[in-house]
């Protein structure tokens, strides 16, 4: 991409200042973003790859990996369905209270993760509103898988809808109206017209939901009770190992999660480039 300043001398900053600003920005990124990432990898690997693999293969760690995958495998599809439904209603339709519904979707982002976990403890916990009823029927939600899944769904609820809504709105409803006029049903319109049009954004929304679901700490920590090998996800296991001064163990699990973050970022860049290419061709 050409810069305006290349052909417009009035927009050119004195080169000394330009390089000073670049240096400041890069130094900040290096110190605040690269250094933590490098520290995680270094602390995990500086005693050798065998030690790292040994830490990962530890039974409690494997259990935490399995649980993290399980929670994400439930929470992500639920949020995919909810996100598409919310985006469809908000982006393709005009109705009273749309702004309020949109704001409500954003609520989990602005609420503290601890509060997000606490609400479920107060609802389903032993002292919660439904606690006695659940106890009578021997149903465990808090300190068990259902609570962790619920908290994860709460925290990651906004991401699919938030990535879909802007692009679905920009695309308008012409194609959906055409499909409906040609006799397509709701499902056909959604699966053949709307979702393929917003495909890359949808994929990005799912990606982001997954990254946050696997990495959620505060909300899940409040509802899980962090029982080793049982209700311990990877981020919670990082905390346990860190508190036990098992730095290699803690950073080995942290490195796996950091890898997840890096893969997410790489896929994001790739998706954005595809989206730009498509927008360039299309319009």
């Amino acid at each position: 991409m050409r810069l305006a300043a290349d052909t417009r001398p009035a927009l050119r900053d004195p080169s000394g200042i330009a390089w000073l600003l670049i240096a400041a920005a890069l130094a900040w990124i290096l110190l605040l973003l690269v250094l933590p990432l490098a520290t995680v990898l270094w602390e995990a690997l500086h005693k050798g790859l065998p030690r790292f693999l040994e830490a990962v293969k530890e039974p409690d760690t494997l259990a935490s990996i399995r649980l993290t995958l399980l929670v994400a495998a439930i929470a992500v599809p639920v949020n995919l369905v909810l996100g598409v439904a919310m985006a469809w209603a908000i982006a393709k339709h005009e109705f009273r209270g749309r702004a309020m519904l949109t704001a409500l979707i954003d609520l989990p982002i602005s609420v503290s993760p601890v509060v997000s976990g606490l609400v479920f403890v107060l609802l389903f916990g032993a002292q919660g509103w439904l606690g006695p009823w659940l106890q009578e029927r021997d149903i465990k939600i808090i300190f068990a898988l259902p609570g962790m899944v619920l908290a994860t769904i709460f925290v990651t609820l906004p991401y699919v809808a938030r990535t879909l809504i802007p692009i679905m709105r920009r695309q308008g409803v012409d194609e959906e109206e055409a499909a409906a006029t040609l006799g397509a049903g709701a499902w056909t319109t959604l699966a053949r017209v709307s979702l393929p049009n917003a495909g890359l954004a949808l994929l990005y929304g799912v990606l982001l939901t997954n990254a946050r679901a696997m990495g959620e700490f505060g909300a899940v920590s409040v509802v899980s009770g962090s029982i080793r090998g049982e209700t311990n996800t990877m981020p919670l296991h990082v905390e346990i190992l860190h508190n036990e001064y098992d730095e290699v163990g803690a950073f080995s699990v942290a490195a796996l999660l950091a890898l997840l973050a890096v893969v997410t970022l790489v896929l994001k860049v790739w998706l954005e480039r595809r989206m730009q290419a498509r927008a360039g061709v299309g319009g």
Partner: protein, 286 residues
């Protein structure tokens, strides 16, 4: 002909359209939001209200709680300020200059979104500990970073970094070059052009990013607790105090503090939603 009757009265819940399945989508959306978000939050508010005002206030406004709010809101505000300045600078550099590593730097900006907070927490705690890479340097100057309020501030700067960059970047990229040329032609210096023409144009976006970073930082938990040291009255953040109360089975007290935090989140949500809406409208006008 109820549709005609409704349109005649001028009030309609849903504008008729050929696009199908509004009812189904709206139904799923409302049912999902109610079950996952609304009802649990109402449960919290009811629990907070399910005690005398005296016991609510004793928990929510105890000296320890007030110190925790001061730290959470104060450190979040300072961190958002730093992110405001550095975010505008980074957005400017990424949009206006070409240099080796620019794409990589751009991609890295989202790291705090993607990196689990607990990972960020242990990494920052290790870096800032007295024997860590940055902590050593600070210790040489007699400054302790980790296990102090400064550590809280550092973690909040980290998690808030992307917000201002990502809100300012598109606005800066869409800015018409002619405006700056006009300022230059009228004899304004480059500095004057930037401060009087460019900065006012990106100010709404920057303030939106500031609000989002502040809102996120106020409730942040995972990245902070590893580095903060968590000493009551000194380096204990408000979300941690909720957890502490919960661990002592003081559900009413936990709910009371959570209600205060929830109220703050709602206020910030309304402000940031209004700011974002204005920004999108301005974006559509450009």
């Amino acid at each position: 002909m109820s549709a005609t009757a409704a349109s005649a009265s001028g009030w309609r819940f849903h504008r008729p359209t050929a696009v199908p399945a509004f009812g189904t989508a709206f139904g799923i959306a409302v049912a999902g939001l109610s079950a996952i978000v609304l009802i649990p939050i109402i449960a919290l508010v009811l629990k907070g209200a399910d005690q005398t005002w005296a016991s609510f206030a004793a928990a929510a406004f105890s000296p320890r709680a007030l110190a925790a709010y001061r730290l959470s809101f104060g450190a979040a505000f300072l961190a958002a300020l730093v992110n405001l300045v550095m975010g505008v600078l980074i957005a400017w550099v990424l949009v206006r200059y070409r240099f080796p590593g620019r794409r990589l730097a751009d991609a890295l900006i989202d790291l705090p979104f993607a990196l689990p907070t607990a990972v960020a927490g242990v990494a920052l705690a290790t870096i800032c500990a007295p024997n860590g890479s940055v902590g050593q340097v600070a210790a040489a100057f007699g400054i302790q970073l980790a296990f102090t309020p400064v550590g809280v501030f550092i973690a909040l700067v980290f998690i808030g970094l992307p917000f201002v960059v990502r809100t300012v970047q598109p606005v800066l990229a869409d800015l018409e070059p002619e405006v700056e040329e006009a300022a230059a032609l009228l004899g304004a210096s480059r500095w004057r052009t930037v401060t009087r023409v460019v900065l006012p144009a990106i100010a709404p976006a920057a303030m939106t990013g500031f609000t989002l970073a502040f809102a996120r930082a106020v409730g942040e938990y995972g990245s902070v607790i590893f580095i903060a040291g968590n000493k009551p009255m000194i380096s204990e953040i408000a979300p941690l105090l909720i957890v502490v109360q919960l661990e002592q089975y003081a559900y009413g007290a936990a709910a009371a503090i959570a209600c205060v935090m929830l109220a703050a989140s709602l206020v910030l949500l309304v402000i940031s939603a209004a700011m974002q809406r204005r920004l999108e409208r301005e974006g559509a006008d450009r």
